[in-house]
């Protein structure tokens, strides 16, 4: 039985209810501002009790976010946000736990904690701010920096093959993965809301611009002039159509995905794949998450499948043992087994 642990409220919160009194100190033009706004807009939609929301972050520019949200917050140490959040949720499953990390925080130093949180399907709402660079330390390449890119620590170009966060999520048996762009806050709000509604571990990747150290890194897809042709917003149950004129689609050609134009070469709408976010096998979701280059980058909810969460399973065991366990109190345990009187 699926169970919701976070108490709901009838209070109609607004964005302002979640805005803290702290000055936001990100650089002007940083994508983080838009992601923060999207998050603040998502909270009122969820009707979770405000006191029960807990933001946990690691280290990096994006990890400052707990200070800017008027909830309980924990700005922890580099890479460990998932581990700390796991403890928060295990100690009190009634908390809605949000984890915010950058690409370096989540996939370099914190890679181990990320994949294990996903593998356990721990009920966390994870947002990865992916700007493909270490910003707070001023411009070193990260695990998602494009191959060959020149950065401060790769003056001759990186020779590191980058991670695609979606692949990591699928590889770790993730149950929810969505992607958005910092420049499209309504989509970010929508996928964050969907992520929070998902029982289990959800990962939202937001492609974010670092205006100082990696400016325009996502411009090839985010620029207004090309965005509609370079991205596709996936919607459950609907054909994968994109393009300024809504005449392009994704089909499976027997070997791989390809972008086609409806009406050309005999292609009809029936050839276009329909998106099913709930397909248990992650094969197609993996292909969708990998799209880029000649194919549009997939946005929206790419994968969303039901699977009992760690929280659910843990609380079931706890309840079972609390009800039927051998020992009711410490005096029982202390006097159990072989004991004798002197």
């Amino acid at each position: 039985m699926e169970k919701h642990f976070v108490p709901k409220t009838d209070v109609e919160y607004t964005k302002q209810d979640f805005t803290s009194d702290q000055m936001v100190k990100w650089c002007p033009g940083c994508g983080d501002h838009a992601i923060l706004a999207a998050l603040l807009n998502a909270f009122p939609k969820l009707h979770d009790k405000k006191e029960n929301i807990c933001m946990v972050s690691g280290i990096g520019c994006s990890s400052r976010i707990p200070y800017y949200v008027d909830t309980y917050g924990f700005h922890s140490i580099h890479g460990r946000a998932c581990a700390i959040a796991t403890g928060v949720k295990l100690a009190n499953p009634a908390l809605s736990v949000w984890v915010n990390m950058g690409d370096g925080d989540s996939m370099a130093i914190g890679g181990n904690h990320l994949i294990h949180a996903i593998r356990r399907n721990q009920d966390l709402n994870i947002t990865i701010f992916n700007n493909e660079i270490y910003g707070l330390t001023k411009g070193q390449y990260s695990p998602t920096t494009k191959f060959g890119q020149v950065t401060k620590t790769s003056p001759y170009g990186t020779i590191d093959y980058p991670f695609n966060p979606g692949e990591l999520v699928m590889g770790a048996q993730g149950t929810f993965f969505a992607r958005s762009l910092d420049v499209v806050p309504p989509l970010t709000t929508e996928v964050m809301t969907r992520a929070a509604e998902h029982d289990g571990c959800s990962v939202v990747e937001v492609l974010q611009n670092c205006v100082i150290f990696n400016d325009k890194t996502h411009q090839a897809i985010t620029d207004r002039a090309v965005r509609d042709d370079r991205t596709i917003v996936l919607e459950h149950g609907k054909p994968m159509i994109f393009g300024k004129d809504k005449n392009k689609g994704i089909r499976f050609n027997g070997r791989q995905l390809e972008a086609v134009v409806i009406g050309e070469n005999g292609i009809t709408i029936d050839d276009i794949l329909v998106h099913h976010e709930d397909t248990e096998d992650c094969g197609i979701h993996m292909m969708l998450a990998r799209m880029g280059g000649d194919l549009p980058v997939a946005l929206g909810v790419i994968r969303n499948v039901k699977k009992e969460s760690y929280t659910q399973l843990y609380e079931e065991q706890m309840e079972q043992q609390m009800a039927n366990g051998k020992y009711r109190c410490m005096d029982d345990l202390l006097n159990s087994g072989d004991t004798w009187e002197v």
Partner: protein, 612 residues
């Protein structure tokens, strides 16, 4: 048996040694349990290799278990009165632990040419000299056991596993003990395998009867003195289980959920294994993906309101260093159990040492004070775990509890407390909607902050690793940093106002003060007691509160002209004391062999110092 001469003894040390998998740990446990149940005081010491099953019958695979039983037992004993050696390798590597004149029982069937070669013998180990110095019993354990197995139609592998019962039977005969306790254990343990119960009982009985038939044994039967212990209900307990139970008790007393985030590591794993059994008592155990996630999950759990703990050993504590700093900075209650082992690095995973003290005291970046306490016996791990939790919850600080492999794996009699007799624990919870609440506002006495839990109304706040000002927001102001550093130190220092004064045993005008801390108290107590009986004036003080030290520590140390600090490392506690009390001249006695102190070596050193 009525015609046997029975010698009364105050105490007896038995050492079981065999190949890993020969069941020596079990034999030792069964003997100590039976002894405890029949009224002896006990202490045990498992001495096992890091390899689970090293090459069969080699020295590398020898596993030992020493049991000390008697009237008043402080330690697992220096050397044994009876040695059981199940193969040539265990005979070779353990003979050094036998007293001269000891009874040595070997499974003679294993002393074949091949067995001797594997153990590295080129000549017969039973030399004339050996046979003169020891009483040797060459028992055909393997063949006797095999015959019983055949009679009962049991397969060879299962039969071989019961060889240890034969040796145990001999020991029970020699110590004038009944087999009933062990029968009852076997019936419980193998309830679903009646054929195994039958086999083991038969082999145990056969060993007992074999001993009865041996002339030589009849002059070696001992009756071990009953323990003189305070009235009460008793049980046998290992240090790791006692630690787990102390944490559970603190959870019940404080009303805070117990959370343990840990990663398996020798010799600390059993703390997690034990707590994982007790979901019915509310224990929330999380086996994390690594040591760092172990402590970080605990810090998260603490933020959310649990009595949060993590258990580890030396290398794991190293990995937890950064997160410990976070716990110091966020001023969250946290108990870190470090079951110390030989280091550095992987070191001696299954051997004991006290060499993590410096790491516990100083192993963090920045000025990062926290509380360090140490248990000093397997049984009192219960109370020190409880005390560590009390300090953490009442003073809002991480506390490191140091135990060690010797305490953790060793066992002792434990006088069962009533939960109602344990002190109260009052966590410093904030009041919902308190308009005066600020995250780092302190109370005047303890200097501790209040604990506001997510879910509480009107207390939303942020904590983290960055420096904050008392009201909560971030601050890089130089004066504020100085103030906060001072406050965090002051909070830890003030714990000294809430702990008892340091006690000293022995004459006030003693010529020598012996100083110990942590897991060495058994051997130190005995050494000092024996020396005083011999007319020497030796005083002894043993520390459990390490940081902060009890307030009278300086006064106490200054009373003595000669001080010797004894510890199983290169002098970490001695160095710590010297920095605080440079006026006190201290010598040190150190041992870093992965082994506990022996009474004999301590006395020799103390006598040398007295003569100097």
């Amino acid at each position: 048996m009525s015609q046997n001469q029975i010698v009364n003894k105050e105490d007896l040390v038995v050492r079981f040694a065999g190949d890993s998998g020969d069941g020596m740990q079990l034999s030792g446990t069964l003997f100590s349990d039976a002894s405890a149940l029949t009224g002896n005081d006990i202490a045990t010491f498992p001495d096992y290799p890091a390899e689970i099953r090293a090459p069969h019958n080699t020295i590398a695979g020898v596993s030992g278990y020493q049991v000390h039983v008697g009237k008043s037992i402080y330690s697992s004993g220096d050397k044994c009165d009876i040695l059981v050696a199940m193969n040539p390798a265990s005979f070779k590597s353990n003979l050094k632990w036998a007293k001269k004149g000891a009874t040595v029982i070997v499974d003679i069937d294993t002393f074949t040419a091949e067995g001797l070669e594997k153990a590295g013998y080129t000549t017969d180990p039973f030399t004339e000299e050996f046979e003169r110095d020891y009483t040797i019993i060459k028992a055909p354990i393997t063949s006797f056991t095999a015959r019983i197995g055949e009679e009962q139609g049991i397969d060879k592998k299962t039969t071989e596993k019961s060889r240890n019962m034969f040796a145990l039977g001999i020991i029970f005969f020699m110590t004038n003990k009944s087999l009933d306790q062990t029968f009852a254990y076997l019936e419980r343990k193998f309830a679903k395998k009646p054929e195994v119960v039958k086999l083991n009982k038969a082999v145990l009985t056969e060993g007992y009867e074999y001993a009865d038939k041996l002339e030589v044994i009849h002059s070696h039967i001992v009756s071990i003195a009953q323990a003189e212990m305070p009235k009460g209900r008793y049980r046998n307990i290992t240090g790791n289980v006692a630690t787990a139970w102390g944490l559970l008790a603190a959870s019940e007393k404080s009303g805070r959920r117990l959370f343990l985030g840990s990663y398996p590591i020798t010799p600390a794993t059993d703390v997690m294994v034990e707590l994982a059994k007790h979901k019915s008592l509310g224990a929330r155990v999380f086996q994390a993906e690594d040591e760092i996630a172990g402590i970080c999950s605990a810090i998260g759990a603490s933020f959310a309101g649990a009595l949060a703990c993590t258990s580890t050993s030396g290398p794991g504590l190293s990995l937890k260093s950064e997160a410990l700093g976070l716990a110091v900075m966020t001023e969250l209650p946290l108990v870190v159990v470090d079951v110390q082992r030989g280091g550095p690095s992987t070191g001696l995973p299954t051997k004991t040492e006290q060499s993590d003290l410096a790491q516990a005291l100083y192993g963090r970046n920045g000025e990062a004070p926290l509380v360090v306490v140490a248990a000093s016996s397997s049984a009192n791990c219960f109370y020190w775990a409880f005390e560590a939790a009390r300090i953490a919850l009442e003073h809002m600080t991480p506390v490191i509890l140091l135990t060690d492999g010797y305490l953790g794996n060793g066992s002792q009699l434990f006088r069962i407390p009533k939960m109602s007799d344990l002190p109260e624990i009052k966590p410093r919870l904030a009041t919902p909607n308190d308009p005066e609440y600020r995250p780092f506002r302190r109370d005047a006495e303890k200097f501790a902050r209040q604990w506001a839990l997510p879910g509480m109304e009107g207390l939303r706040h942020r904590v983290g690793g960055l420096e904050k000002c008392p009201d909560g927001p971030l601050s890089t102001d130089p004066e504020n940093h100085a103030l906060m550093c001072h406050n965090r130190q002051e909070k830890v220092d003030r714990v000294a106002n809430y702990i008892p004064e340091q006690e000293v045993q022995g004459a006030a005008d003693a010529d020598l003060l012996v100083v110990g801390w942590g897991g060495t108290s058994g051997a130190l107590t005995l050494a000092v007691e024996e020396m005083n009986k011999e007319g020497k004036k030796v005083a002894y003080t043993h520390f459990n509160y390490i940081c902060p030290l009890p307030k009278n520590t300086g006064d106490l140390l200054r009373r003595y002209k000669k001080i010797v600090v004894c510890e199983l490392n290169n002098g970490q506690f001695a160095g710590y004391l010297r920095t605080q009390f440079p006026e006190c001249p201290m010598t040190q006695y150190n041992k870093i062999m992965g082994l506990p102190f022996e009474v004999g070596e301590l006395k020799a050193e103390f006598n040398r110092l007295l003569e100097k």
